[in-house]
C-alpha cells in the first residue's frame, strides 16, 4: 500500500516536472522570438530527469536501509531482559507480532502489555518515517525541479543532455549481458571452489566412482568421480550425432540442391517444427514410446536393451538435433559460391558427383563448425536424459544400459534441500563449471572455424 502511494507521488512529481519544463520552454519561444536550441519536450524531459533522480535516491536509500532501521527500533522497544530470554526464532516471532499489532489487523490470542506499547510506538514510527521520506523526497525533487527549470533558456542544450542520459541508460542495459556472464562465471567458480575444499580436484576430475552420500553431514561424503558422468555424456552425444548428422546433412543437401521451390517451402518449416518442441516433450516421448520400442526390438534380435538407456536417450536427442544440423548445414552450403558448382557441372559432372567432390569439400570447415555446435547442444541437454537415460552413474561402455550424464547429476544433486553448504549440493556447481567450460570451448572453436570459412568466400 505504502509503495503504491510512493510510486504514485513519484509519477505526479514526474508529470509536474515535465509540464513545468515544457511550458517554460514554450514560453521561451513566444516571448523572445529567439531560436531555441531544443524542442519543448526535451526541456520537459530535462527537468523531469533532474527532479526524479534525487527523489528516487531518497526513496531508494529508505528502501535499502529502512527495514533494518525499523527492526532496530522495534527491538529497542522490547524490554532488554525479554530480548535476552528469546532465541532468534522467538525474537523474529515477537517482532512479527508487534508489526501485526502496529497494522490495524491485530493479533490472535493474548497480547502482552509490552507488545501493545511496542506496537503503538511502531505505528507512530511508521507513520512519521513514511511522512519524512515523502517530504524529503518531495523537497529534494521540487528543489531540483526549480533549479533545472531556472536553467532553461534558449541556449540550453537540453536535447543533448537528455540524449546523453538515454545513451547512458542504453549502456547500462548492455552491461546486463556482461553482468550475466560475469555472474555465471563468478557463481560457478566460487561455489565450485567451495566444493573443492571438501573433495580434492583430482578425485573429482579423475575419479571413476560416482556415489554421493546424500545423507551425510560430516565425514564420509561419498565419491564424486566425474568420469562415469563424462562417459555417459560422451556416449549419448555420440549416438545423437550418429543419428542427427547423416539425416540432417542429407536433408539439407536434398533441400538446397535437389528440391524444387514448393517442396522446400513445405519441408523446411516442418523440420523447423522439431526445433520448436520443448525438450521435455522429447523426454516423455523417449520414455513412454521409444524406450519400450527399442527394448522390444532388441528382444527380437536377441539383444538385451534396457528401456531407459543411453541408446534411447541418444536416439531421441539425435532426432531433436536434426533441425539444428539441417539448418546450419543449409546456411553453410549456400555460402559456397555458385561458380564452383557451375565449374563442376560444366565439366559434365552429375549432381551427386558435384556435391560429393566439390561442394562438400569446399563446405567442410563450415560443416565441421556446425557439427561442433550440435555437439555442444547435445552435451548441455538435460530433460531428455533425465527422463530416458535411467540414472546409473557407472563407468561402463554399454549403450544398452542406463547411464548418467553431467546434466542429470546436476539436477539430482541440486533438487533436494537448497542449502549450499555440503559437497552434495556444491558438486552441482563443480559439474556446472565443467559443463560450461566444455560448451564454451566447443562454441568458441566452432564459431572461429565458421568465421574463417565465411571469410574465405567473401
Amino acid at each position: 500500500m505504502n509503495s503504491l502511494i510512493i510510486a504514485g507521488l513519484l509519477l505526479v512529481l514526474l508529470g509536474l516536472a515535465y509540464q513545468s519544463g515544457w511550458s517554460r520552454s514554450r514560453g521561451l519561444v513566444t516571448t523572445n522570438g529567439v531560436k531555441v536550441h531544443s524542442r519543448p519536450q526535451y526541456h520537459g524531459a530535462f527537468v523531469s530527469i533532474w527532479a526524479l533522480v534525487p527523489a528516487l535516491l531518497i526513496v531508494g536509500v529508505w528502501a535499502w536501509f529502512g527495514p533494518g532501521l525499523t527492526r532496530s527500533f522495534i527491538v529497542s522497544q522490547i524490554p532488554t531482559d525479554t530480548v535476552l530470554a528469546l532465541d532468534q526464532v522467538g525474537l523474529n516471532a515477537t517482532i512479527a507480532r508487534i508489526m501485526q499489532l502496529a497494522s490495524s489487523y491485530g493479533v490472535a490470542g493474548e497480547v502482552l502489555p509490552f507488545e501493545q506499547t511496542a506496537g503503538d510506538a511502531l505505528r507512530t514510527f511508521n507513520f512519521i518515517s513514511f511522512l519524512a521520506v515523502i517530504c524529503a523526497a518531495a523537497v529534494a525533487g521540487i528543489a531540483a525541479l526549480l533549479y533545472a527549470r531556472s536553467q532553461i533558456n534558449a541556449r540550453l542544450r537540453a536535447r543533448n543532455i537528455v540524449e546523453r542520459v538515454i545513451n547512458l541508460a542504453l549502456l547500462a542495459c548492455s552491461a546486463v549481458a556482461i553482468l550475466t556472464t560475469v555472474g555465471i562465471v563468478a557463481s560457478l567458480v566460487t561455489e565450485a571452489y567451495k566444493f573443492f575444499t571438501f573433495i580434492p580436484p583430482q578425485d573429482f576430475f579423475f575419479g571413476t566412482v560416482w556415489n554421493p552420500n546424500n545423507a551425510a553431514t560430516g565425514g564420509n561424503y561419498g565419491s564424486y568421480g566425474l568420469l562415469p558422468l563424462l562417459s555417459g555424456t560422451v556416449m549419448i552425444t555420440g549416438i545423437a550425432m550418429l543419428v542427427a548428422v547423416p539425416i540432417g546433412l542429407m536433408a539439407a543437401i536434398y533441400l538446397s540442391q535437389y528440391a524444387d521451390r514448393r517442396l522446400r517451402a513445405v519441408a523446411k518449416p516442418m523440420i523447423e517444427i522439431l526445433a520448436g518442441i520443448p525438450t521435455i516433450v522429447f523426454g516423455f516421448f523417449a520414455l513412454v514410446t521409444v524406450g519400450p520400442f527399442l527394448r522390444d526390438a532388441g528382444r527380437l534380435v536377441g539383444l538385451s536393451i534396457n528401456a531407459t538407456s543411453a541408446l534411447t536417450a541418444g536416439v531421441v536427442m539425435g532426432i531433436m538435433i536434426i533441425p539444428f544440423v539441417s539448418s546450419l548445414s543449409d546456411d553453410i552450403l549456400n555460402q559456397v559460391p555458385r561458380t564452383l558448382r557451375d565449374g563442376a557441372y560444366g565439366l559434365g559432372a552429375t549432381k551427386s558427383e558435384t556435391i560429393r567432390n566439390v561442394l562438400l569439400p569446399a563446405a567442410l570447415p563450415g560443416i565441421v563448425g556446425a557439427f561442433l555446435l550440435a555437439v555442444s547442444r547435445a552435451v548441455g541437454e538435460t530433460m531428455i536424459v533425465v527422463l530416458a537415460a535411467g540414472n546409473a552413474p557407472v563407468l561402463r561402455g554399454n549403450p544398452f544400459e542406463p547411464v548418467a550424464t553431467i546434466t542429470v547429476s546436476i539436477v539430482n544433486q541440486l533438487t533436494g534441500d537448497t542449502d549450499f553448504t555440503g559437497p552434495q549440493s556444491l558438486v552441482g556447481f563443480a559439474l556446472g563449471l565443467t559443463l560450461f567450460v566444455i560448451t564454451l570451448c566447443l562454441n568458441v572453436f566452432a564459431l572461429f572455424i565458421v568465421r574463417r570459412f565465411r571469410e574465405q568466400y567473401e
Binding site: I253, A259, G276, T279, I280
Partner: protein
C-alpha cells in the same frame, strides 16, 4: 595438320566410348544419392509425425473425465456441529478469523467420508453388499473436501440434500477407460472386485458419466486426489514468468542491441561483448539455472520456486536471442534511410528512435514471440531454482511458490499411478504444444502482416 585432324577425330570417338561406358553407373549413383537425400527428409518428417500422433493418441483419452452425479444428504446425525460463528461487536479482525478457523476445523473433523459413503450407497443398487473402504475408492479423495467446502459456504444446507458432481477416483477412471488391462487378475488390479463391479453398474445406470475434463484446466495440481489434478497453478505460474520475461528481456535486449549497434565505438571491447553475447546464446539452459540458484536464491534470498526467480532466470536466457535478433534487424535497415534522416538534421538518437527502430519493429516482435515460446518450454533451469516441489495452489503474486507448465509435466510423468498419469501427462503436453504452436503461428502471421504493410 590433316593427320592431327584424323587422330583427334579418332581419340574423340574413343573418348565418347569411354564416357558412355561409365554413364549408367554414374546415373545409378546419382539416383541412390538423391534417394538417400529424400529418405532423410522423409525420416525427419516422419519423426515429427510419429511424435505428434503418439502424443495425440496417448493424450486425447485424458481429455475426458468420469463424473459421479450424487445426491448428497447433509445428515445432521453425522454432521453434529453448532452453527457458524457470527461476528460480535468490537471483535478485532484477528479474533473473528480465529473463531471462524476454530469452527472450520471442527467442520473438518466431522466424518465427511460417511456422508460420501451414504451418497454412494444411495446411488448403488439396493441391497448391494460392499465394504466401506472399497466403496470409498470409487470417489476421488477430494470428494469430502468438495462437499465440506460446499457446506462451509452454505451452512444452512444442514439437514437438506443437494445434487453434487464429484470426480471418480483415478483408479476408477483407469478401470472405466480401460487404461488398466481388464483381464488382469485381482492381485494386479488397483481396485477390489466388488468396487470394480459397482463401477460398471454405476456407469450403466448413468450415475457415472464421462464429460470433458475441465478439471485439467480449472484445478490446481493434487497429490491426494489425482483425478482432480489440473494445470491451473502451472498456467498462472507460466503466465507470470512470461510477463516478467517480456517486460524485462525486451526493453533491456533492444536497448543493448541499439547501444552496441548504433552508439558504441567500434573497439576491442565491443568485439568482446559481441563474442560474449554469442556465447551466452549457446550456454546450456541448466547453467542459467545454476546461476539463478546461486545468485537469486542463495545470495539475494528471493523466495524459492517463485515466478519472479523463474522469470529472471528465463529473462537472462532469452536476452541474448533478442539482442542478436535486434542487431540483425538493425543491420538490415538500409543505409539510405539512415542517411536521409541524418541529412534532414536529425541527431543520431533521433534517427535511431524515430526512423530506424520503427522499421525493425516486425523483426523484434517476431524474435520476442519466438524467444518467449522457447523460454516457455524450458524445464531444467526451473528445476534448479526449487520448482521440483509439489505446489498445490495458484500463486497470488509472482513472489509466491509456483510451478510452470513444463515442470508440471515433469512432475506428473513421475507419478506412480502410471496408468492414470501417463495419458494425463500426454494431455498436458498437448496443451503445451498447442500454446507453442499458437505462439509460433502468431509470430509468423504477425511478421507477414507487418512486413506487408511496411
Amino acid at each position: 595438320m590433316t593427320d592431327m585432324l584424323s587422330t583427334t577425330r579418332q581419340t574423340a570417338i574413343e573418348r565418347t566410348k569411354l564416357v558412355r561406358a561409365g554413364l549408367r553407373r554414374r546415373h545409378l549413383n546419382e539416383a541412390i544419392f538423391r534417394g538417400l537425400g529424400l529418405a532423410a527428409i522423409v525420416l525427419a518428417l516422419g519423426f515429427v509425425a510419429i511424435l505428434f500422433v503418439d502424443i495425440g493418441r496417448k493424450g486425447i483419452p485424458a481429455f475426458t473425465q468420469s463424473n459421479l452425479h450424487l445426491t448428497v444428504n447433509f445428515d445432521p446425525a453425522i454432521l453434529d456441529i453448532e452453527p457458524a460463528p457470527v461476528r460480535a461487536d468490537g471483535q478485532s479482525d484477528a479474533d473473528f478469523r480465529a473463531a471462524n478457523l476454530v469452527w472450520q476445523r471442527k467442520v473438518a473433523l466431522l466424518n465427511w467420508n460417511k456422508v460420501i459413503e451414504a451418497s454412494l450407497r444411495a446411488a448403488a443398487p439396493a441391497g448391494l453388499e460392499i465394504d466401506t473402504r472399497d466403496l470409498l475408492t470409487i470417489a476421488e479423495t477430494d470428494s469430502r473436501h468438495v462437499v465440506r467446502t460446499l457446506f462451509v459456504e452454505n451452512p444452512d444446507l444442514l439437514g437438506k440434500t443437494a445434487e453434487v458432481d464429484l470426480l471418480a477416483s483415478a483408479n476408477a477412471t483407469n478401470w472405466i477407460k480401460g487404461n488398466i488391462d481388464r483381464s488382469l487378475g485381482d492381485a494386479q488390479q488397483q481396485l477390489s472386485a466388488p468396487a470394480r463391479a459397482l463401477i460398471d453398474t454405476l456407469v450403466d445406470n448413468g450415475t457415472i458419466s464421462t464429460g470433458f475434463a475441465w478439471s485439467i484446466f480449472t484445478n490446481v495440481d493434487s497429490r491426494a486426489a489425482p483425478a482432480s489434478a489440473g494445470l491451473l497453478g502451472a498456467f498462472v505460474g507460466t503466465l507470470y514468468m512470461m510477463i516478467i520475461v517480456i517486460f524485462l528481456a525486451v526493453p533491456i535486449g533492444v536497448a543493448s542491441a541499439i547501444y552496441l549497434e548504433e552508439f558504441a565505438p567500434k573497439s576491442k571491447l565491443t568485439d568482446f561483448i559481441e563474442v560474449n553475447i554469442n556465447n551466452l546464446a549457446a550456454v546450456p539452459s541448466i547453467v542459467f539455472g545454476l546461476l539463478g540458484a546461486a545468485v537469486f536464491i542463495n545470495y539475494m534470498h528471493l523466495p524459492i520456486s517463485a515466478p519472479i526467480v523463474g522469470g529472471l532466470v528465463l529473462t537472462l536466457m532469452t536476452l541474448p536471442t533478442i539482442i542478436i535478433a535486434t542487431r540483425g534487424a538493425l543491420l538490415g535497415v538500409s543505409p539510405a534511410l539512415r542517411q536521409a534522416a541524418l541529412g534532414m538534421g536529425a541527431s543520431k538518437t533521433q534517427m535511431v528512435f524515430h526512423h530506424v527502430l520503427p522499421v525493425t519493429f516486425p523483426s523484434i516482435l517476431t524474435a520476442t514471440i519466438l524467444g518467449v515460446a522457447h523460454a516457455l518450454g524450458e524445464t531444467a533451469p526451473l528445476l534448479l531454482i526449487g520448482m521440483k516441489a509439489f505446489v498445490a495452489q495458484v500463486p497470488a503474486t509472482p513472489f509466491d511458490q509456483a510451478t510452470a507448465l513444463p515442470v508440471q509435466i515433469y512432475l506428473w510423468q513421475g507419478n506412480e499411478n502410471r496408468n492414470f498419469f501417463e495419458p494425463r501427462t500426454a494431455a498436458a503436453i498437448m496443451v503445451l504444444l498447442a500454446v507453442m504452436i499458437m505462439l509460433n503461428g502468431a509470430a509468423i502471421y504477425l511478421r507477414s502482416r507487418l512486413e506487408k504493410r511496411a
